[in-house]
């Protein structure tokens, strides 16, 4: 998997209730604990689903991550198909 750290951050938010809670309070602080490029960090903080998918976030990490953000399925699919 490319963009390993980026996937790791989103996967940790999906999987770990403590990290998830901290992420929803202060995403930037949680993101600073991961080895992200400037572009990756920006895409996470902006919840830029199109860019996250293009960067190589796995569908089974990105879709659960967006479900946590209450993103409707049609919006998700439109974003990744851009």
């Amino acid at each position: 998997m490319s963009t390993y750290s980026l996937n790791k951050l989103l996967r940790d938010v999906n999987r770990d209730p403590g990290i998830r809670e901290r992420f929803f309070k202060d995403a930037a602080a949680v993101a600073s604990g991961y080895d992200l490029t400037g572009e990756e960090r920006h895409a996470v903080l902006e919840r830029d689903v199109t860019t996250l998918y293009r960067m190589g976030v796995h569908g089974l990490i990105l879709r659960p991550f967006t479900i946590l953000h209450q993103m409707p399925e049609p919006d998700y699919l439109e974003a990744i198909r851009k």
Partner: protein
């Protein structure tokens, strides 16, 4: 004969998390199918469910093995707060898991093992239908169906054949449950597209008395029907365990709102 029951079923999260988005007739057919296999499983009074399952980055990430046996005393799940399946500590059986691993290693199959496995929808959905009271011990074998490279169909079939003598000799009453598939591409560009022709072919092969037909599915064949279709490696392993016993189709529905070809098969004769 220690295998007292065997079945396989799909675990797309929508069946629990957004049940009501599917047409009622499809919901009824699949819930009815799961109720029927639950009845069969309960009547067989298993002490252990050997769960051939896949996961979605709940455990595999930093470390990935082709097959990983859950050796913990319990498994917490589901990790998804949105699944609408109640949180549970599912009891494991470290002693049985250890015996199973010893048999595997003595037979040339060095499976990974984990003491701290978590369950996501891949395990909690089928358990919520089959053992909703979570009162049967579960020993999972997680299949890596995500990261490349992955085990081949032939290897999964061989894994099943290797497990059979161990299960036959075990003193416990064992239900073998495989889960995953069928055609689906979750979270990816073809999310919602279901390859019903593939599903019909696979079910025909799964319900034939010739499990070797299943070893012909290449990684690319499965992937073509959607990334989640690789989960059928667990079904293929079940076919290896069950050998000449024939599976029967219980229910199949291509459920677009759940983005998955949903199937359930069971074995009339235990083993």
């Amino acid at each position: 004969m220690a295998i007292v029951y065997a079945c396989a079923g799909s675990h797309a999260p929508g069946i629990r998390a957004w049940t009501e988005r599917a047409p009622q007739a499809q919901v009824d057919n699949l819930f009815g199918g799961y109720a029927a296999v639950r009845e069969g499983l309960e009547a067989a009074k298993p002490e252990i469910v050997l769960l051939l399952t896949s996961e979605h980055w709940a455990n595999f990430f930093e470390h990935v093995g082709a097959f990983c046996v859950g050796r913990g005393a319990s498994f917490e799940g589901p990790i998804e707060p949105w699944l609408r399946v109640e949180n549970a500590e599912v009891k494991g059986d470290p002693e049985f898991a250890t015996r199973l691993l010893e048999h595997c290693y003595a037979s040339g199959f060095e499976l990974s093992f984990s003491h701290e496995m978590k369950f996501d929808h891949g395990s909690m959905v089928p358990l919520s239908f089959l053992t909703p009271d979570m009162n049967v011990r579960v020993v999972p074998i997680m299949f890596n169906t995500l990261a490349t490279p992955r085990a081949t169909s032939a290897r999964c079939l061989a894994l099943g054949r290797m497990l059979r003598p161990f299960l036959d000799a075990a003193p416990e009453r064992i239900a073998v449950v495989a889960t995953g598939g069928l055609s689906h591409d979750p979270g990816e560009r073809n999310h919602g597209i279901i390859d019903t022709d593939f599903d019909a072919r696979f079910i025909a092969d799964m319900t034939s008395a010739d499990p070797d037909r299943l070893s012909r599915y290449s990684d690319a064949d499965l992937l073509k029907a959607g990334a989640g279709t690789l989960e059928l490696l667990a079904w293929i392993c079940l076919a290896g365990i069950m050998g000449e016993a024939k599976a029967r189709l219980v229910a199949y529905e291509a459920v677009v709102p759940w983005a998955t070809g949903m199937g359930i098969v069971s074995y009339d004769r235990a083993a």
